[in-house]
C-alpha cells in the first residue's frame, strides 16, 4: 500500500504510544489513507484504536513515529490548529447552546461574518434534515437527532478529515442502522475522509472502504470488508470478524498454497495461511454459512462426518449445532426454506464445503 505515494493524504509512519513509559499501547502503527476514504479502526476495547484516534486529533502525544497530513507532519501541531472534525460517542453537544449555536461555534471561532454563519448553519441543518430544530437545546433532542447535529457540527467548518469515536455506540439497533446509512450518504455526498473507530464489526463491514483490525496494539489486517471477511490473514481476524468454526487438524501436505488437513471428521483441503508448516498442527476456519448439509446441490470439495446435536430457529435462518468426534461444536447456518433438513437425536450428517471457503491457520 505504500506505493500510493502522491495520492496519500494521511500517513501513519511507525506510530507508537506508551502511557506508563513501560508498555506500548500502540506498537508501531503504519497506514496510508487516500483522500475521501472511509477507514474504520476495529478491535476489542483496549486494543489501541481509540489511542490512535486521539493521537491523530492531537489530544494524546505521539511517543515515537510520525503522523502526516498532506505530506506535512502534524506531530507538533496544536489540536486546535489541525482542522480535524470530530464526532464523539456522547455527542459532546454544548448543553447551554441551541442547536444552531452549536453549529455556529466552529465558524465563530474562525471569525466568519455573522450573515455567512447564519447561511451556512441553515445549509447544514438542512443537510442533516433538522431545519426545524435550530432553536432547540440539545437536551430536547432524541439520540438520533443529537447524533445528526454532532455530525453536522463536525462537517460545518469543512475539515478535510473527520474522526468518529464510536459515534453510534449509544443508539439502539434500529437507529444505529439508520445513522449508518446517514453517515454513508453524507460521506458520499460531501467526500470528506473519515477515520471511524468502533468495536461493532457489522457497522465496520457495512460502512468502510477499508478496515484496520486492531488487537493488542497491533494492526492484524488492513483490507476492504469483503477481503477481511473472505480471506482473513490470521486466526484472530477470522474469529473476530463474523462467526466462524474452527476445526483442529494436522497438515499432511502443502502444495500451491493448498493444504491437505487430516481431521477426526475427515480430510479437508484448505487455503494455507501464512506461517503454516507441513506436518504441523493447525486450525481450519469455515464460516457457518459456507457449510452445507448433505444432500445438497452445492458444489463441494470437502466432507466432514459429524453428529447432530440440536437446531435453533432464528427466523430468517436456522442454526444447526453438530458435534465433532472430539466433542467440539460446529455450527451451520441454513436459510429458512424448504431445504432445511430434519434430524433425529444423534443422527450422523455430512457437512460439505469448498476449498476456497476453508482457511488453515497454524494452531495456537
Amino acid at each position: 500500500m505504500k506505493d500510493l505515494g502522491s495520492e496519500t493524504f494521511l500517513r501513519f509512519d511507525n506510530v507508537k504510544k506508551s502511557y506508563d513509559q513501560k508498555n506500548l499501547v500502540v506498537k508501531g502503527f503504519d497506514m496510508d489513507v487516500k483522500e475521501g476514504e472511509f477507514i474504520t479502526l476495529l478491535g476489542p476495547s483496549g486494543s489501541g484504536k481509540t489511542t490512535v484516534l486521539m493521537m491523530l486529533a492531537g489530544f494524546e502525544s505521539v511517543t515515537s513515529g510520525d503522523i502526516a497530513i498532506g505530506g506535512k507532519s502534524i506531530n507538533r501541531t496544536a489540536p486546535n490548529k489541525r482542522n480535524i472534525g470530530m464526532v464523539f460517542q456522547n455527542y459532546a453537544l454544548f448543553p447551554h447552546m441551541t442547536v444552531a449555536e452549536n453549529l455556529a461555534y466552529p465558524l465563530s471561532v474562525r471569525k466568519m461574518p455573522k450573515a455567512e454563519i447564519k447561511e451556512r448553519v441553515a445549509q447544514y441543518l438542512a443537510l442533516v434534515e433538522l431545519s426545524e430544530f435550530g432553536d432547540r437545546r440539545p437536551g430536547q433532542l432524541s439520540g438520533g437527532q443529537k447524533q445528526r447535529v454532532a455530525l453536522a457540527r463536525a462537517m460545518i467548518f469543512q475539515p478535510s478529515l473527520i474522526l468518529m469515536d464510536e459515534p453510534l455506540g449509544a443508539l439502539d439497533k434500529n437507529l444505529r442502522e439508520q445513522m449508518q446509512f446517514e453517515i454513508t450518504r453524507l460521506h458520499k455526498q460531501i467526500g470528506f475522509t473519515v477515520i471511524y473507530v468502533t468495536h461493532d464489526q457489522t457497522e465496520a463491514l457495512s460502512m468502510s472502504d477499508r478496515i484496520a483490525v486492531f488487537n493488542d496494539g497491533v494492526v492484524q489486517q488492513c483490507a476492504p470488508p469483503s477481503e477481511l471477511y473472505e480471506r482473513p490473514v490470521n486466526a484472530f481476524v477470522a474469529d473476530f470478524i463474523g462467526e466462524n468454526n474452527f476445526v483442529a487438524g494436522q497438515v499432511t501436505q502443502i502444495k500451491d498454497g493448498i493444504a491437505q488437513v487430516k481431521t477426526d471428521a475427515g480430510l479437508i483441503a484448505a487455503r494455507a495461511a501464512e506461517g503454516l508448516a507441513d506436518g504441523a498442527a493447525c486450525r481450519v476456519s469455515i464460516r457457518p454459512e459456507k457449510l452445507f448439509i448433505h444432500p445438497t446441490d452445492h458444489a463441494h470439495d470437502n466432507a466432514l462426518t459429524v453428529t447432530f446435536n440440536t437446531r435453533i430457529y432464528v427466523g430468517d435462518f436456522i442454526r444447526y449445532y453438530f458435534k465433532m468426534p472430539d466433542g467440539t461444536d460446529i455450527i451451520v447456518k441454513v436459510l429458512n426454506d424448504l431445504s432445511a433438513p430434519e434430524f433425529g437425536d444423534g443422527a450422523q450428517a455430512q457437512l460439505l464445503s469448498l476449498t476456497h471457503d476453508c482457511t488453515a491457520f497454524p494452531a495456537g
Partner: protein, 413 residues
C-alpha cells in the same frame, strides 16, 4: 387527563384517587419529624425575633400611669407636678419591687447617663412615706436629681413608652426621630457602615474561595480517582477539626510572637513583627480557610460530571484551550460555581465565631454587634432588628441571584 377520567368507571376513579391520597399521606408522614423540628427550631425563633424587633412592652408595663399622665404634656418644659408625683410613686414601687434597674436600662438607651440617675433616685425614694410623696413628690424628685427637671429626660421616657415601635429598625440603619417626629440621621453612624463592611468582607472571602477553589476542583475533577480522593481528604480536613481549634491555630500562626512573624524576623525580612492578628486581614484569611470546602465540594461535584469530550470537541473545532474554557467549560461549571459562591457568601455574611476570635475591633462583622447587643448591652430588641435586617438582606441577595443567575442553575452536589 380529563378525557381519561371520563373513560374511567366511577368506582375505578375513586380507587385511583384513594391510592393517590394514601401515597401522599405516606410521603407526608416521612417529613413530619423534620417539619416539627423546623417549626420549633427555625420558624418559631425567627417569628419571635421579628416580633421582638418591633415589640417592647418593658416601659409600658413598669410605669403605665406615668405614661398615661404624660400624654397631655406638650413636650416642652417640665411636665405638671401631677406627672412628677405619679412618677415618684412609681419609682418608690419599683425600688421596692427591685424593677427600677429595668427602667434605668431602658431610659439610658435613649439618653446616656440616665441609668445612675434613675437608680439613685429610686434608692432615695424607697423609704419615703406614701402620703409624703403624694404631697411633695415633685419637689423630692427634683431634689434627688436635677435632670428630672429637663424636658429631654421626659421626652425620652415618653418615647420609650409605646409597646410597638419602629425605633429599633431606625437605629439599625443609623436613623432616629427628632423632636418633631421627622426621621433624621443619627449623630453616630455605626450600623450602615458595619453592614457595608460585612458585605465587602463576604464578597472578598467569596472571591478568594473562587480563586483558590476553582483550579483545585478542576484539577481534582480531571485527576485519577485515587489522587482526587487523596486531595479530597485535605479539602475535608478542616471539616473534621473543631472550628475553635482551627481558629486558634490561626492565632498561633499570626500573633505578634507567632510562627509567621518569628520566621520572617529570623530570615531578616522584617525588623519588627507585623500586626497580622486582630484585624480585617486575619478575619478574611481565617474565614477563607474555613469556608473553602463549601466552594470546592459543589464545584467538584459539577466538574466531575463534565465529560472531557466537551473541551476536546471545542478544541477540535478550532477553539484555543482558553477560549474553549471560557465559552464551554465555564458555562457548564457555572451551576457549581454559583452554588459554591452563594453558600460561601451567605455563610460568611452571618459568621460570628471567627471574627469574634481573630477580628479585633477592625474585623468585626454584623453578627458580632448583634451578639454584643444580646449579651452585653442587653438590648434584645435592637439585636432582633439588626438580625431581621440581615435576613432581609440575604433574601434580597438571593432574589437578585435568582433573577440574574437563576436557581435552576444551582447544583449543590
Amino acid at each position: 387527563m380529563a378525557s381519561m377520567t371520563q373513560n374511567l368507571a366511577p368506582e375505578d376513579a375513586r380507587n385511583a384517587a384513594r391510592e393517590v391520597r394514601k401515597r401522599r399521606l405516606q410521603a407526608f408522614f416521612f417529613v413530619v419529624p423534620l417539619l416539627v423540628f423546623l417549626i420549633f427550631a427555625f420558624v418559631a425563633p425567627i417569628a419571635t425575633m421579628l416580633y421582638r424587633s418591633v415589640h417592647n412592652p418593658t416601659v409600658a408595663n413598669l410605669i403605665p400611669q406615668t405614661l398615661a399622665a404624660l400624654e397631655d404634656w406638650s413636650g416642652e418644659g417640665v411636665p405638671d407636678d401631677a406627672v412628677l408625683i405619679q412618677f415618684a410613686a412609681d419609682m418608690k414601687r419599683m425600688a421596692n419591687d427591685r424593677t427600677s434597674g429595668q427602667l434605668a436600662d431602658e431610659i439610658n438607651r435613649a439618653l446616656p447617663g440616665m441609668s445612675s440617675v434613675t437608680k439613685s433616685t429610686a434608692r432615695a425614694l424607697r423609704r419615703v412615706d406614701d402620703a409624703e410623696i403624694a404631697a411633695n413628690g415633685a419637689a423630692m424628685l427634683l431634689e434627688a436629681n436635677a435632670r428630672w427637671g429637663e424636658a429631654a429626660t421626659w421626652r425620652a421616657i415618653r418615647d420609650a413608652g409605646p409597646i410597638y415601635s419602629s425605633s429599633y429598625y431606625l437605629t439599625s440603619v443609623d436613623l432616629e426621630r427628632d423632636r418633631d417626629g421627622n426621621i433624621v440621621q443619627r449623630d453616630t453612624q455605626i450600623y450602615v457602615q458595619l453592614y457595608t463592611k460585612t458585605l465587602k468582607m463576604a464578597l472578598i472571602i467569596t472571591g478568594l474561595t473562587i480563586v483558590l477553589g476553582y483550579p483545585l476542583a478542576f484539577f481534582m475533577a480531571h485527576a485519577s480517582s485515587s489522587l482526587a480522593n487523596f486531595l479530597m481528604v485535605f479539602v475535608l480536613l478542616p471539616f473534621w477539626t473543631s472550628l475553635l481549634v482551627r481558629t486558634t491555630a490561626w492565632i498561633a500562626l499570626l500573633q505578634t510572637g507567632g510562627v509567621v512573624n518569628s520566621t520572617l524576623q529570623w530570615f531578616g525580612i522584617i525588623d519588627d513583627p507585623l500586626q497580622l492578628l486582630y484585624n480585617e486581614f486575619s478575619t478574611i484569611l481565617a474565614m477563607t480557610h474555613i469556608l473553602l470546602p463549601f466552594m470546592v465540594l459543589p464545584l467538584y461535584a459539577v466538574m466531575r460530571g463534565i465529560d472531557s469530550s466537551y473541551m476536546r470537541a471545542a478544541i477540535s473545532m478550532g477553539s484555543t484551550p482558553l477560549g474553549a474554557w471560557s465559552k464551554i467549560y465555564l458555562p457548564m461549571s457555572l451551576p457549581g460555581l454559583s452554588a459554591g459562591a452563594l453558600l460561601v457568601f451567605i455563610i460568611s455574611i452571618g459568621y460570628y465565631i471567627t471574627p469574634a476570635l481573630v477580628g479585633g475591633t477592625d474585623g468585626q462583622m454584623i453578627s458580632n454587634i448583634i451578639a454584643f447587643h444580646m449579651q452585653v448591652s442587653n438590648n434584645w430588641e435592637l439585636a432582633a432588628a439588626l438580625g431581621s435586617l440581615l435576613l432581609v438582606l440575604i433574601l434580597v441577595l438571593y432574589w437578585l441571584f435568582d433573577r440574574f443567575v437563576g436557581t435552576d442553575n444551582l447544583k449543590l452536589g
